[in-house]
C-alpha cells in the first residue's frame, strides 16, 4: 500500500529538483499537445527551447531573451515577497499598465524638450503609478479587511479601460493622423529606454531587474523585514507574537510589488513597446505569477525562471512563424508548467511511504 508521509523537514533536493522535473514533464506533455495539433513534437520542442539560444539566427534572438525576461523578473521578484508572506497581489498586470501610463505621461508632457532629467523622472512616475495602484488593495485590506486578491484583480480591468481611454483620448498622438496610440517614445531621445550596449538587448529594465533580484535576496536573507515576511507566511500567529505588524507588512509587500510592476511597465513602454497603445501590455503581469512560483519564490530562482519563461515566449514566436503553431499553444504550455510544478511540489513536503503504517 502506498501512502503519503509528511517529511519532518522539507526536502532541499526536491525543492531544487521540482522545477527541472516540471519543465521535463511539460516538454513531454507539451509534445503530446503539439502532436495533437499536427506538428512534429520533437521539432517543436527544439524550435522553442534550442533555436533561440543556439540556432542559426540565435544572434538575433539572444538579445530578445533579456528584453523579455527583464519585466517578468522585475514583476515576479515583487510578487514573490508578497506570496511568501501570504499576501496575494494578482493584479500586477494593472499596476504594470498604470506605471506605463504614468511614465509615458511624464515623457509626453515634456515633448519635445530634450534633457537628461526626463528619463529618471519618467521612471519615478512609473514606479509611483504602480505603487499607487497597488496601494488601493493594500489600503482597503488593512483598513477594512477587504480581500486583496479580488480587489487587485478587479483593478486590472479598470486599468485596461483606463489604458484604452488614454490611447484613444488624452495621450493620442496629435500628429498620428487619427490612429489610436501615443507618440512613439523610441523616437524621442530623452524618453527612450534605449539599449545600453548595442546588440545585447541590455536596457535599463535589465539593470533594474538585476538590482531587484539582489535587493530582494539581501532583504530576505539578511534583513529583519525579510525574516518577518518569511515568518508571517509560515506561522502568522507566531509572527504576530514576535512583534510583526501585519498591516505594515501588507502595505510594504503590495506597495513594493506594485512599484516594481509599475517600473517594469514604464521601461517597457519607453523601450521595446515604444508607445501607449490599447494592447501594448501582453500579460507579463500574469505570466510573472508563474515565474514567481517556478523560481520557488526565491529571487535567484526567479532570475532563472524569468529567463526560461522568456525563452518560451521567443521560442513560441519562432514556432508560430516557422511551424504555424498557434500563439495560444504557448499559453497552454506555460499553464501546464505551473500545473506540473504545483503537483510535483508535493514531494518537497511529503514522501511516498510503502507498506503498512508503523503502529503509532
Amino acid at each position: 500500500m502506498i501512502r503519503l508521509e509528511k517529511r519532518p523537514e522539507p526536502s532541499r533536493t526536491m525543492s531544487y529538483a521540482t522545477p527541472l522535473l516540471a519543465v521535463l514533464a511539460t516538454m513531454v506533455f507539451g509534445g503530446f499537445l503539439f502532436a495533437f495539433l499536427g506538428k512534429d513534437p520533437i521539432e517543436a520542442i527544439i524550435t522553442i527551447f534550442w533555436d533561440p539560444l543556439f540556432g542559426e539566427f540565435a544572434f538575433f534572438y539572444r538579445p530578445q531573451l533579456l528584453v523579455k525576461a527583464a519585466p517578468l523578473i522585475l514583476i515576479a521578484v515583487g510578487l514573490a515577497l508578497g506570496f511568501k508572506a501570504g499576501i496575494w497581489n494578482i493584479g500586477a498586470e494593472g499596476q504594470y499598465i498604470v506605471g506605463a501610463i504614468c511614465g509615458a505621461g511624464v515623457g509626453l508632457a515634456f515633448y519635445p524638450l530634450e534633457s537628461w532629467v526626463i528619463f529618471p523622472l519618467m521612471a519615478l512616475a512609473g514606479a509611483f503609478g504602480g505603487w499607487a495602484w497597488a496601494m488601493i488593495p493594500a489600503f482597503l485590506r488593512v483598513k477594512f479587511g477587504t480581500n486583496e486578491i479580488l480587489v487587485s484583480l478587479m483593478l486590472v480591468y479598470v486599468a485596461e479601460q483606463l489604458l484604452a481611454s488614454m490611447a484613444l483620448g488624452a495621450m493620442r498622438n496629435p500628429e498620428g493622423r487619427g490612429f489610436p496610440g501615443s507618440r512613439n517614445l523610441s523616437q524621442y531621445e530623452s524618453a527612450h529606454n534605449a539599449e545600453l550596449i548595442a546588440g545585447t538587448g541590455m536596457h535599463w529594465g535589465v539593470v533594474a531587474a538585476l538590482i531587484s533580484v539582489i535587493f530582494a535576496y539581501v532583504l530576505l536573507t539578511r534583513h529583519r523585514l525579510g525574516f518577518a515576511i518569511r515568518v508571517t507566511g509560515e506561522a502568522p500567529r507566531a509572527a504576530r507574537f514576535g512583534g510583526v505588524n501585519p498591516g505594515r507588512l501588507i502595505l510594504f509587500c503590495l506597495g513594493l510589488s506594485g512599484l516594481l510592476a509599475g517600473l517594469a511597465g514604464m521601461l517597457e513602454v519607453s523601450g521595446p513597446a515604444g508607445q501607449i497603445t490599447i494592447d501594448f501590455n501582453v500579460g507579463y503581469g500574469f505570466t510573472a505569477i508563474i515565474v514567481a512560483f517556478l523560481g520557488r519564490l526565491n529571487p535567484l530562482g526567479i532570475l532563472f525562471a524569468g529567463l526560461l519563461m522568456a525563452l518560451t515566449y521567443i521560442g513560441g514566436d519562432i514556432a508560430q512563424s516557422q511551424l504555424g503553431l498557434p500563439a495560444a499553444a504557448i499559453q497552454v504550455f506555460q499553464g501546464m508548467l505551473l500545473f506540473f510544478l504545483l503537483a510535483l511540489d508535493l514531494f518537497t513536503n511529503y514522501r511516498l511511504g510503502f507498506g503498512r503504517e508503523a503502529a503509532a
Binding site: L153, M154, F293
Partner: protein
C-alpha cells in the same frame, strides 16, 4: 444623449439575462467554498465552458447539447484543480490562478477556427406563451430556459445546504475538516464533488455568454465575469439567496452601462465600461466591514495523517 431610447421593460429583461452567467458561476463557487475549497479558476472554467458549448452547439446544431458539453468541459477542467489541491495538496490560490491562465490559453486554442461563426439560436423560452402579458409578461416569462435553470439552481442549493443530510456534511467539511474526518466523512471526496459541481456551473455560465448573451466566440470573451462571480460569493456572505440578489445587482449595472453607452451619455465609453468592476470593489469594501462568516476551513489543505 437620448435616455428615452431606453425601454425600461426591455432593460429589466436584459438585466436578468446579463445576471444569469454570473448567477450560475457564483452558485457553483458557493458550493465549493462552503465545502472549504477556494477555487480561483472560475474565469478559466467559464471560458472553457463557453468554448466547449459553442463548438458542440455549432457542430450538432443543438444549443442543448452545447450546454451539456459546457457543463462537462467546465467540470473537466475543475478536475485538474481537484487533482492538484486534493491529491497533490497544492496551494489552492496558486492552483486556481493556474487554472484560469491555462483555461484562457486552451480555450483560445480550441476556438481559433470558430471565430466569426453564428451559433444556432435557442428558440423561444419555456414560458414564451405568457410573455405577451403587458409589462410583467416580458420581464417574468420572456426568458430562455437557462435563466429559469439558474433560479432553480439557487433554490436547490439553498434547500440542499439547509435542509438535507448531504448539505450538512458538506458544511461540516467546510467548517472543520478535522472534525468531519474524525466523524468518518470522506473530506476529499466531498470536496472533489463540490469542485466538480462548481466547474459544471461555471461551464454553463460561460456557455450562456457565448451561446446566448453575445452570441459568438471571441478569445477571452468572459472578460472578468468569473472574477465578479468570485467577488459575489463574498458579497453574499456564502448565502445562496444573497448570491441571487448580488447577481441581479451586478447584471443590472453591466446592462445599464451598456444601454447608457448606446444612448450616447456624455461619459466616455471606457469609464462606463469600468463601472461594474469599480462597483464590485466598492461593494466588497462595504461588506468586509461586517465580519462576514466565511467557512472555517476555506482555502486550507486537508491531509489525514497530518
Amino acid at each position: 444623449m437620448d435616455l428615452s431610447a431606453i425601454n425600461p421593460v426591455l432593460l429589466i429583461g436584459a438585466m436578468i439575462a446579463a445576471a444569469t452567467p454570473i448567477l450560475l458561476a457564483a452558485t457553483g463557487e458557493l458550493v465549493a467554498e462552503r465545502a472549504g475549497v477556494l477555487n480561483l479558476g472560475v474565469e478559466g472554467m467559464m471560458i472553457i465552458g463557453a468554448v466547449c458549448g459553442f463548438i458542440i452547439a455549432v457542430n450538432t446544431g443543438s444549443p442543448a447539447f452545447g450546454f451539456v458539453a459546457a457543463a462537462i468541459g467546465g467540470a473537466g477542467l475543475s478536475l485538474v484543480f481537484a487533482f492538484l489541491t486534493q491529491a497533490t495538496l497544492a496551494n489552492q490560490v496558486a492552483s486556481g490562478l493556474g487554472l484560469t491562465l491555462f483555461g484562457l490559453g486552451l480555450s483560445a486554442l480550441m476556438g481559433q477556427t470558430y471565430v466569426g461563426i453564428k451559433p444556432p439560436s435557442m428558440g423561444p423560452g419555456p414560458f414564451s406563451a405568457l410573455s405577451d402579458i403587458p409589462v410583467f409578461g416580458r420581464i417574468l416569462f420572456g426568458h430562455d430556459a437557462l435563466v429559469y435553470l439558474g433560479l432553480l439552481f439557487v433554490a436547490t442549493v439553498w434547500a440542499t445546504l439547509k435542509h438535507t443530510r448531504a448539505g450538512l456534511i458538506l458544511r461540516a467539511v467546510g467548517e472543520n475538516h478535522d472534525a468531519a474526518h474524525a466523524l468518518g466523512y470522506k473530506v476529499k471526496r466531498v470536496r472533489t464533488l463540490a469542485i466538480l459541481f462548481g466547474g459544471a456551473c461555471a461551464g454553463l455560465g460561460g456557455a450562456y455568454i457565448s451561446l446566448i448573451r453575445v452570441p459568438q466566440w471571441t478569445e477571452g470573451m468572459t472578460a472578468g465575469v468569473g472574477w465578479i462571480a468570485l467577488a459575489l460569493v463574498v458579497f453574499a456572505s456564502w448565502k445562496p439567496w444573497r448570491v441571487l440578489l448580488g447577481a441581479y445587482l451586478f447584471g443590472g449595472i453591466t446592462q445599464l452601462q451598456l444601454n447608457l453607452q448606446g444612448a450616447g451619455v456624455a461619459i466616455p465609453v471606457e469609464y462606463l465600461a469600468m463601472s461594474p468592476y469599480v462597483v464590485t470593489i466598492v461593494v466588497l469594501v462595504f461588506l468586509s466591514a461586517e465580519k462576514s462568516r466565511a467557512p472555517g476551513c476555506l482555502g486550507r489543505t486537508f491531509h489525514a495523517s497530518g
